[in-house]
């Protein structure tokens, strides 16, 4: 790829304009109801300019930064999975015919440009790629292949961020078309723009950008490294897969279950959670039907229901399923963690259950360790 370029805010506007011109629906962060959500944007005016997000377990607030930063916040509750596997996607429609029924394909999806995707977001899309693409899921594959990604490197992580522990940030390493790094110091306000793909380079060529000076590149890189050293949280990943699979019988799950409301927030905001359900709908006159896919959550009772009752009826078992899937069985299934360290599940948990804390608590109370210290009944009798 060519060397880094420098653009200013007008250049970012031009980038959005070029993408729209090329037929993309540009979707990115924008303020809606005191929250940063993803929606269609047409210029930098739509971005949360000069806004910072304060995040903590169970808490999210926006506040003024007092500057003109375009990307002075991290991630809101939504991720781009809202566009890649939109809840309510019609899989197919069925029409009753004289001798049975026939099915027809759903309409083709729009082309999205994901604008302002944080490195954890880009990593999450790659995690979901491993879930959907090998199976050839039509809904995801078509949307993903038609999409364009403008990533933004992180320079100011939130208190809930721990991407550095998982190697998914704060610098985007792969899976983007264009990566931006915002530099805002004193009078300097510019964006380092780097292409990650040929099409990204082609788009950048449409902008009037100048090559970056060495000190500008070094300065931008330094900000990202600084972010890496200032993560609000961390997750010890060493031996984590085995730790969780060996601790299914740990009494800690019931204790977490006593706090967990099974509200499903963590799974809805998680950018990698892919569980879904289908709804079969029928017209009142029975002439047509359609199958619709919506997001589902392993925290509902219905999720594991089989004839006779749900498999996971206790909240503790449902939390165990979720965290064990994220941090242990996901590795068996897809060869990676199902967590990218974005911290959303921590922020949006109404009771502030923290995946990093709970993983650490399991490590602290590892039943393999505890078992070593306590003599067995047989040993006591002898």
């Amino acid at each position: 790829m060519s060397e880094p370029l420098v653009i200013d805010r007008q250049g970012v506007d031009a980038l959005i304009a070029v993408l729209i011109d090329r037929g993309y629906e540009v979707v990115g962060p924008t303020v809606r109801g005191q929250t940063i959500l993803y929606d269609t944007i047409t210029s930098t005016e739509d971005l949360p300019v000069g806004i910072r997000d304060r995040q903590e377990a169970g808490s999210y607030r926006l506040e003024e930064r007092g500057d003109d930063a375009l990307f002075g916040y991290v991630v809101g509750p939504q991720s781009f999975k809202k566009y890649l596997t939109p809840p309510g996607t019609v899989f197919w429609k069925g029409l009753r015919t004289e001798d049975g029924f026939e099915t027809v394909e759903a309409d083709p999806p729009p082309r999205h440009a994901f604008f302002g995707a944080r490195p954890c977001e880009v990593a999450a899309m790659r995690v979901q790629d491993d879930v959907y693409l090998p199976v050839g899921d039509g809904v995801y594959t078509e949307r993903r292949e038609r999409s364009f990604t403008v990533a933004v490197n992180c320079t100011e992580p939130a208190a809930t961020c721990f991407c550095a522990s998982l190697g998914t940030g704060p610098a985007v390493s792969d899976g983007y078309d264009i990566a931006l790094t915002e530099v805002l110091s004193g009078e300097h306000h510019f964006f380092l723009a780097e292409a990650g793909t040929d099409i990204g380079e082609d788009v950048l060529a449409d902008l009037s950008a100048r090559p970056a000076h060495d000190e500008e590149v070094v300065g931008a890189r330094r900000l990202v490294v600084h972010a890496s050293d200032h993560m609000g949280r961390s997750l010890e990943t060493d031996g984590l897969q085995e730790l969780l699979s060996a601790n299914l019988a740990n009494s800690i799950w019931n204790e977490i279950g006593n706090r967990c409301l099974t509200c499903t927030n963590c799974t809805m905001v998680c950018p990698t959670c892919f569980c879904s359900t289908v709804e079969d709908r029928q017209a009142l006159d029975g002439s047509s039907a359609e199958r619709v896919r919506t997001w589902d959550s392993c925290f509902t009772l219905d999720f594991s229901y089989i004839h006779g009752g749900p498999v996971r009826s206790s909240p503790g078992a449902r939390y165990r399923q979720w965290i064990t899937h994220k941090l242990s069985t996901w590795q068996d299934q897809f060869g990676s963690f199902g967590c990218v360290g974005c911290g959303r599940c921590i922020t949006w948990c109404p009771v502030g259950i923290d995946i990093t804390q709970e993983a650490a608590a399991v490590r602290e109370r590892d039943i393999r360790k505890v078992a070593v210290g306590i003599p067995s009944v047989k040993e006591v009798l002898e």
Partner: protein, 269 residues
């Protein structure tokens, strides 16, 4: 993954709530292996996983046995000859028919668990010379709940198949054993050092069956179970059927007990 419309050729009422549909297969050359299932779709109502209960040697028929326990299975068991239901599949893993060759084979089932094992039994009888002693141990709630009762009678009349049946609750017509299916293990003739067991029934029944077979000297690499979980997609995408690291729809439903580590038998996993 669109369901393929398949015409119903016949409907057999097996029990009060259990019906066997004989369907035209989704396509020419459609085939399955014993242990697999399909997703059956009732137009506008929904889709459920149903194991195939027919003869794997007869590609002209798709035979499925369904117990009505909810809205979709109700709709599927209310169909008439000539109606159309949607089919996706076949999905999932197979019973280890090849591993069992040259060995004793024990088939243990409870209730409707006999349905997903019937293809394995039919395959075994079709290629009877490939197997040593073959024993079917079957437990039902009551004599009136015996699935495929007529066929069980036929099978019991064969010299090359041992059929042992027990019921939880006997009535005055019953002359056979009463009790749980594990109580039949002592009556079966098999070499625990080499035999292969295929087990399908309620999870609690499978759990105790595995324990008893292990106690009889069998090892977990020769014990196979067919697991049931909620399924929406059949292709490992919807997440519902997860059992530890497995997606039961594609890594199962037939799983080796060697692969099903203790984790899979933990409560509520």
């Amino acid at each position: 993954m669109h369901p393929v419309p398949c015409r119903v050729r016949s409907v057999v009422r097996e029990l009060d709530d259990t019906f066997t549909l004989d369907l035209e297969p989704p396509s020419d050359g459609w085939s399955f292996v014993p242990g697999q299932f399909t997703m059956l779709y009732a137009f506008g109502v929904g889709e459920v996983p149903i194991s195939i209960s027919g003869d794997p040697g007869d590609p002209t028929r798709l035979v499925q046995t369904i117990r009505a326990v909810g809205p979709v299975s109700d709709a599927l068991t209310s169909v008439a000859v000539g109606d159309v239901v949607g089919v996706r599949g076949p999905f999932g893993t197979a019973w280890p028919m090849e591993l069992a060759e040259g060995r004793d084979l024990i088939i243990m089932t409870g209730g409707i668990g006999l349905a997903p094992l019937r293809p394995a039994i039919l395959h075994t009888l079709e290629h009877r010379d490939r197997y040593n002693n073959v024993t079917l141990l079957y437990g039902a709630r009551s004599p009136g709940d015996l699935l495929f009762a007529e066929q069980l009678q036929q099978w019991r009349g064969r010299f090359d198949l041992e059929v042992l049946i027990t019921v939880d609750h006997a009535d005055r017509t019953w002359r056979g054993p009463v009790g749980v299916v594990t109580s039949l293990i002592g009556r079966a003739s098999f070499d625990p050092e080499t035999a292969v067991a295929m087990v399908c029934g309620p999870e609690i029944m499978m759990r105790f069956t595995i324990q008893e077979l292990e106690r009889a000297g069998m090892t977990e690499d020769r014990l196979f179970v067919s697991m049931e979980r909620n399924m929406k997609c059949g292709i490992g995408l919807c997440g519902h059927c997860q059992l530890g690291k497995f997606f039961v729809c594609k890594d199962g439903p037939v799983l080796s007990c060697a692969a099903m580590t203790g984790a899979c038998w933990t409560r509520e996993v």
